[in-house]
């Protein structure tokens, strides 16, 4: 099993064993054994996935077979016309977007795009956008606003690309600008963290009225490896950093950062893309439905209040001046 994660191995082996028994000439002879093994598989699966830690979830979020933005687009929308370019510098393949039909209604879709094979990974810069990617996203979100269409964003990036060209062309400004424009956008925005939510490069597509997260997605201020490198000078301590930073969907829901968790099929979205998309479709339908009746002003206020509330601090009651 080439792409199995450590904690997936025992399950994959058990599955292979069952498949082998089924493939025998006379499977009926092994019926009892197969039934027993399947029962065991189910128990073991439930045990494994009920107790995944932050680092195991990170590995699932980065799983090489996990559906990416374009996969979800294909499975969720009736039609999709991809649009290209930021009209300033270029077209960043690490961000895809365009016009889509969701259950018959026009929506603008934008998302980070990782590659599947080596060549595509490089072409898409491992899902790490340059400023032109964020500016393409901005253009498309404003297109949605202009024509009163909802905006759906998919978040799946290790982070914005830290390279010289990105710095020269204003990576910071591009991200900051998206945050401000999303704060005031007069269209409904639904953001879904589908895989990796890597810091500011993720947030630049993430200021939704509703922010959803797939069950095993992660979302953090810095990658666990980056955090561990700074704290302990050792990127190998990423699992500890992942735990300490509280990056899982249940953690983020407790902290008030996300509005809902979209369940994944048992074993993770990569085990069954159709089922994963089906679960996400239901969540999207509900989120878009909730926002459909709201006026432009109400949408903006709703979003601004949502982000205004975030943070945790202590406040002494004395007032102070002078």
């Amino acid at each position: 099993m080439p792409d199995g994660l450590d904690f997936e191995q025992p399950l994959l082996e058990l599955e292979a064993h069952i498949a082998a028994l089924r493939a025998l000439d006379d499977p009926l002879k092994h019926g009892d054994e197969i039934a027993k093994l399947e029962e065991r598989l189910q128990r073991q699966r439930q045990r494994t996935y009920a107790s995944l830690n932050a680092w195991q979830r990170t590995q699932l979020a980065r799983h090489p077979k996990r559906p990416h933005t374009r996969d979800f687009i294909k499975l969720l929308f009736d039609d999709f016309v991809e649009l290209h370019g930021d009209r300033v510098h270029g077209d960043d393949a690490a961000v895809v977007g365009g016009l889509a039909l969701f259950e018959g209604r026009g929506v603008v879709v934008v998302g980070h795009q990782k590659g599947r094979d080596t060549r595509e990974k490089i072409a898409r810069n491992f899902g790490m956008p340059h400023p032109e990617g964020y500016r393409k996203a901005l253009r498309l979100m404003q297109l949605g606003e202009k024509f009163g269409k909802p905006v759906v964003t998919f978040i799946d990036t290790p982070g914005a690309y830290p390279g010289p060209g990105a710095e020269e062309r204003g990576q910071s400004e591009a991200i900051a600008h998206n945050l401000r424009v999303m704060a005031g956008l007069a269209s409904p925005i639904v953001s879904v963290v589908t895989g990796e939510g890597g810091s500011g490069g993720a947030l630049a597509l993430g200021m939704g009225n509703r922010v959803l997260m797939l069950e095993y997605a992660v979302y953090s201020v810095i990658s666990p490896e980056g955090c561990a490198a700074i704290l302990w000078g050792d990127a190998a301590r990423a699992p500890e950093a992942a735990e300490g930073m509280r990056i899982t969907a249940p953690d983020l829901q407790r902290l008030g950062v996300i509005d809902g968790i979209v369940p994944e099929p048992v074993g993770g979205a990569h085990r069954d893309w159709d089922a994963a998309a089906g679960l996400l479709r239901g969540a999207l339908r509900q989120a878009l439905g909730d926002l459909a009746g709201m006026s432009a002003r109400h949408l903006v206020e709703d979003r601004q209040e949502k982000f205004r509330r975030l943070g945790a601090f202590e406040e002494e009651s004395r007032t102070r001046s002078g």
Partner: protein, 282 residues
């Protein structure tokens, strides 16, 4: 990903520490040009190197003294302190780090905010304290900036923020990231209220601070030679496996690449702000 450049394990945030020690001794060494200079001369020049004009890092209080008209600064929101929402611990507990930073700097968190007059013109003025955990932005910094921007809207005055920060504070995890969204939202409201935001970038301004409010100035000023960028230079050099050219990500580079409006000498900063404020005031 790259809010922080890598450094020693004990250090928790942000950009490399290159502050010259202006505090003790008759002579100091400039971190930019490496010249040994007479301390009194540096002080007289407004903590600027008399040889190469590099502006040494100064505290939030010192910054406010150089910009606000004498006796006009009225501090607000000083009663906000960190809550350690994650119960975070690395080599030290986050709570202990915060306490140590408070004792070292004499401020509650990494930004000092209030109302002031600059050349007679009323403004909200916020200055970062780099000495407080690398000026990193967690919930307290985000909340103080947001309340200050809201105060500016209520008082109908402009906002001036002097940034010096390595970015988001990772000890508060995702909540630090959300302060980027929160401050950008407040600035969206400030803009709709017809009020200007003047952003002053000083050494260093990087990561989640640059990628949120700091680059949203209606006018963006930078002190000479300040490191300004999204990713830290160490992270970029590691990514491309090449050394970076001299001056990369410095103010002058950012001016050349269209990212800031002007590079202003520290001694001219107050007068420059005043001239811009007059424009918006008229």
């Amino acid at each position: 990903m790259a809010w922080f450049s890598r450094k020693k394990p004990e250090e928790t945030t942000a950009a490399p520490r290159r502050t010259a020690q202006v505090a003790e001794g008759l002579w100091i060494k400039c971190d930019s040009c490496k010249e040994i200079i007479y301390r009194a001369e540096v002080e007289r020049a407004g903590k600027v190197c008399p040889k190469c004009r590099y502006p040494f890092r100064i505290s939030a209080r010192e910054r406010i003294l150089t910009l606000a008209d004498t006796g006009t600064f009225e501090e607000h929101h000083a009663n906000l302190t960190s809550a350690d929402p994650l119960g975070f611990k690395d080599t030290k507990r986050y709570r202990d780090r915060v306490k140590a930073a408070q004792q070292k700097t004499g401020v509650g968190d990494a930004v000092v905010c209030g109302l002031a007059r600059i050349g007679g013109l009323p403004t909200v003025l916020c200055a970062f304290e780099f000495g407080f955990m690398g000026g990193s932005m967690g919930s307290v910094v985000g909340e103080k900036l947001t309340r200050s921007i809201e105060l500016a809207i209520a008082k109908h005055v402009p906002v001036v923020i002097v940034a010096a920060s390595g970015g988001a504070r990772m000890q508060e995890g995702i909540l630090s990231l959300m302060q980027m969204a929160k401050t950008a939202t407040a600035l969206e409201q400030l803009g709709r209220a017809g009020l200007p935001f003047l952003s002053v970038l000083t050494d260093p301004t990087t990561g989640g601070v640059t990628a949120s409010f700091a680059m949203l100035g209606d006018v963006i000023l930078a002190e000479p030679r300040a490191l300004i960028g999204f990713a830290g230079p160490r992270v970029i050099a590691e990514t491309i496996r090449q050394p970076l050219p001299d001056g990369f990500q410095r103010s002058e580079f950012q001016l050349e690449h269209g990212q800031v409006d002007m590079v202003v000498d520290r001694r001219d900063l107050k007068e420059t702000l005043r001239r811009i404020l007059v424009f918006f005031n008229e």
